[in-house]
Symmetry: D2
Subunit: 348 residues, 4 copies
């Protein structure tokens, strides 16, 4: 198979770097273009980036020339790690001119014709692309993935919603520093501290969960109708969001039934054997003190969500804690998997 | 007033050190005895302790001789920071021989004749001491304070339970390392990590909350009957437990009413002007990103609970985040305040 | 005594905040003006600042109006925490118009008519003020304090240079995050990391040490002529710079002689009993594992340098480790003490 | 080639875990035995270990039964991560009974017939094995590797000593937490802190450096005769020791000559293409702020030393900073490479 030409938009940030890392040596994709803000445009990528991953910049990428955000992009597929304020307009312009944009940015996530795609969970939302192209007159497309917190939450919620139905959920997050990109959180705010606030995050998680777990009725997305409360916190962890979840499942299943549902979860990426698909999208652990960021964030190459401490909740019925890598499955990895899925299904 | 002679039991741990620090220069108490485990007994305190507080060991204390846990104690009042396995037996033995024990240890907290005292909240529980002395034949007494997480939670819940009534609550904690004493959590488990488990902590918080906020009917403690779910986590913070709280209040009060209730809270320690009483036992902040451990744990000398982000909860009705210093108001400071209160009220 | 009217220039940064904290309730000074960059000018200080100290903003200061950096300042004495690029010009303008500027900024430190003053060490440098005023035509003055690393190093070196003479020294620093101000070091660069580089720091430490420990011959500063090598590193510590020092002392004194020299050190601030003077400018500890930032940075209210592990050095003769609070004695506190000294000596 | 049967002694500690991780899938070695202390002996390894590495326990190893430290070991080659107090006796007993022991423990390192082997540096020391076997009557052998700090230091010093000659060196280390094994450093000692002391470490680094860089004259090891001063510090880094080095090289080479010497360094492991050999044992970087633990510790799979900031030293002539992974090349990886080398050379 001839490799598809792909670009990374917003290539110098923490998510952009993850895209580049995940695309290095990818069997289906060939990285042909990078874009970044005006400050970086025109420079060698290796000079423009403050590279933060433990491995070196992949071979050849350091010498690539960074293009401007608003220019033409020499690639069929665009992975977008653009900042919020730049993403809305530029992604639309690229889709209009025939590019297939897989975006990690938030502006289009809740659009009524943009699939908010979680590859194992709601492939049927892809049918909205037809509406998107028709009504917008685009030859390309935009497919969004969710917020990092929402993605891992929904990997765990999806099997439970399908098998039992979720009525309501109370979630508290302990989110990693890399989620705020770079330079992001100042070290004086991070060290020996918890910041109990992340701007606009709680609202996103609620809205996106109801879109992820809802349906597509042929013309519109139908929200899942789950009542949710979310408390978001920033903790001093490099990578890996931890979330405590208390929720009410219809029928009040036993702990063992909940675990069985989570363990049995699998989707199209697993059936199709996509290159970036984790074998187990949800890993369930029985130890009392797991998952932990340093021990579990890299399981399945960072593409899975680990759930632990599944137990009865005296108030809402069921509770557990979950953890996932926020810049891999929670961001860049989710978009790469989405692109693989649409390619395998012949949608792009 | 002649100062009362006081001892610190279990003086070398993190809570024991806080007791010593809070008692240095105390207007009502004079430190006359220290005890610790066999490993330390007989040594100078300054040689036996791994002192962890930023100020030096108070003058004179370093030269005090550490007594054994099971020996006679030259003091009228004993502040106990004994480890769980030693506390039950030794505290009872001291109470039997006339000592007034104010304990931070857990073994006696849920006894049906031991007040679990939070000085602003449930002074009427002190009436259980009569039963305690009579039924046990003690000339002394034991008064317990709660678990560090429960104390700060209950300082915030108490005014809300009194003014509205609490039906149920879902709580997630992010607890400080000093709560696990010393050496406690290994640095390899703490750095860049969250540990989503603290042994037996969730059960304690639920049971103690229902005792704190319940009543004394003349012969027994009557639990408050609040349905609770608690998720406990350890984060990389030196001091200061953060807790997110979602709860249902009777009558569904507005956010402003909830804040007003918290701000108006005051109790006997404030009325009596006790030496260790915070002016405001609950501090309410309006900024979106407070409280934070590094900024708020030392407010009111560590004796208050700070509440922030009071807002509507889509699932349970009301939510907020709270923070308090776990080894001051959450442990040693709470016992010192309890002792001051009983002294001021003529109970010891 | 009527309090002197003082201003803090660059009041919103980490050093500016320390100035405000140290000046609150100061017996000799009354804070009457604050300045900051254009972004903050005109606003209430409480709204303009991201307050980072554990205590609240001192009473009354939050409501003060922030003045612009380049405007008139309603104060006789100015404490400057201006950023480097702004300090040179604005401090000179203020000195010209009669203000006595005590600056923590670097631009004027090495000027040949500006005393680089370390209150216990080189009071005779103040005689350069006469030259400064005459040659520049200023009615006011500028007195500089050193770089945070240099100040603590020189508190330890000064008695050794006086008692023995220092020939050469090799120093490695492990510097705190607050030294980079706010937002300063990104948390992704700080967590689980050491950064072996601080821009222009090594050069400053060498030059300033030779000025601090040198003389004033009536017309010029005479450098001390010490050969030095410095390695500067940033570590994940909030406050407190640690420095390892290997040095050659003339005559090759014994370890006990070195300790005795350090312990005996005292200067004019101690003789005069200045309000901010530490009793012991240098604290010497005998434990094998001290000083440590969390345990020793706040000794003498952060105004002392703690030295430990004094021992023979197989290469250079003598070695030890030292630690001091970088934003108190290493910055704001040093300037406040300098101002107290000049006031007590009738120089301003 | 038939794989050699290998054991890991002291398998549950941080270094033991690294041995297991490095031996998983090794082309030449097959893990057939594990030993640990009495507390763990007889248990499944997966139950006995507190596994701390981000990847899971390698397949099959979790189910292996842990043997006692003092029993027979079913393996030809033994990798020892035994604690100091157990290593001396047990390693000798195994060597006596025909096992080839590659040890990371310190008791035998300075023995006059035990090679302290650094594979690229001093292969000729292996000739001491003849003396060892003959004088001790062993059919097996012991080959030691150095202390983690000494190994990385000597990878950088070796080419410089060979090309120029080292007269003296002053070294300050900033060492990672994993070097103290598990539980090791308490989190309350690590967070927001530097500990300027590691027991017995400075002495080891000096002695081992002089053995590493010295010769074997046919009957004895001849020390290199380098005067050294070392300051050891513990910093809050998971993995990766950073060291600042000031040293005097004969002939006073230029910075570019020093860099060229380091870059050209290569040894038998590279010539032989050993499985664990890094392509570049010393990586030299030109950026002003490298190496850093999070960015550089995993280069060459943790088997190289990274050197940066090579520059003139005003006191000693040359200086730089180096960094290496302390439990890979600094411990387990060094022993595995030593075993590969002796196997390839036909010595075991």
């Amino acid at each position: 198979m001839k490799k598809r030409r792909v670009a990374v938009l917003g290539a110098t940030g923490t998510v952009g770097q993850r895209f580049i890392s995940l695309l290095a040596g990818h069997p289906w994709f060939e990285l042909t273009a990078l874009t970044a803000s005006d400050r970086s445009a025109g420079r060698r990528f290796g000079d423009a980036v403050h590279w933060l991953l433990p491995s070196d910049i992949p071979d050849g990428v350091g010498d690539m020339r960074v293009g401007p955000t608003d220019g033409a992009v020499d690639a069929e597929i665009c992975f977008s790690a653009l900042p919020t304020e730049a993403a809305g307009e530029h992604e639309a312009a690229l889709a209009k001119t025939g590019h297939h944009v897989f975006t990690n940015a938030s502006p289009h996530r809740m659009d009524d014709d943009v699939p908010l795609l979680l590859a194992e969970v709601n492939f049927e939302h892809v049918r909205a692309l037809e509406k998107q192209r028709r009504s917008r007159g685009w030859s390309g497309s935009i497919v969004a993935n969710g917020n990092c917190t929402a993605i891992h939450l929904n990997l765990a919620l999806a099997p439970l919603h399908r098998d039992f139905g979720i009525e309501r959920a109370v979630v508290t997050t302990m989110q990693a520093l890399s989620g705020a990109s770079y330079p992001g959180v100042a070290s004086l705010d991070a060290l020996d501290n918890v910041i109990p606030y992340i701007d606009d995050e709680e609202e996103k998680v609620i809205a996106e969960t109801n879109k992820f777990l809802g349906g597509w009725d042929g013309t519109s997305f139908v929200p899942a109708g789950i009542a949710m409360s979310v408390h978001c916190n920033r903790v001093t962890v490099r990578d890996g969001h931890t979330e405590t979840v208390s929720l009410t499942l219809r029928g009040g299943p036993k702990v063992d039934d909940v675990k069985a549902s989570l363990r049995a979860f699998s989707g199209r990426p697993q059936q199709l054997g996509l290159p970036s698909a984790p074998k187990r999208p949800v890993v369930v652990r029985d130890e009392p003190d797991r998952p932990q960021p340093v021990l579990d964030r890299d399981v399945e190459k960072g593409m899975a969500t680990t759930v632990g401490r599944v137990r009865e909740d005296p108030v809402l019925g069921t509770k557990f804690v979950l953890l996932g890598h926020n810049t891999i499955r929670g961001a860049a990895g989710a978009s790469v998997l989405n692109a693989e899925l649409l390619l395998a299904e012949g949608c792009v």
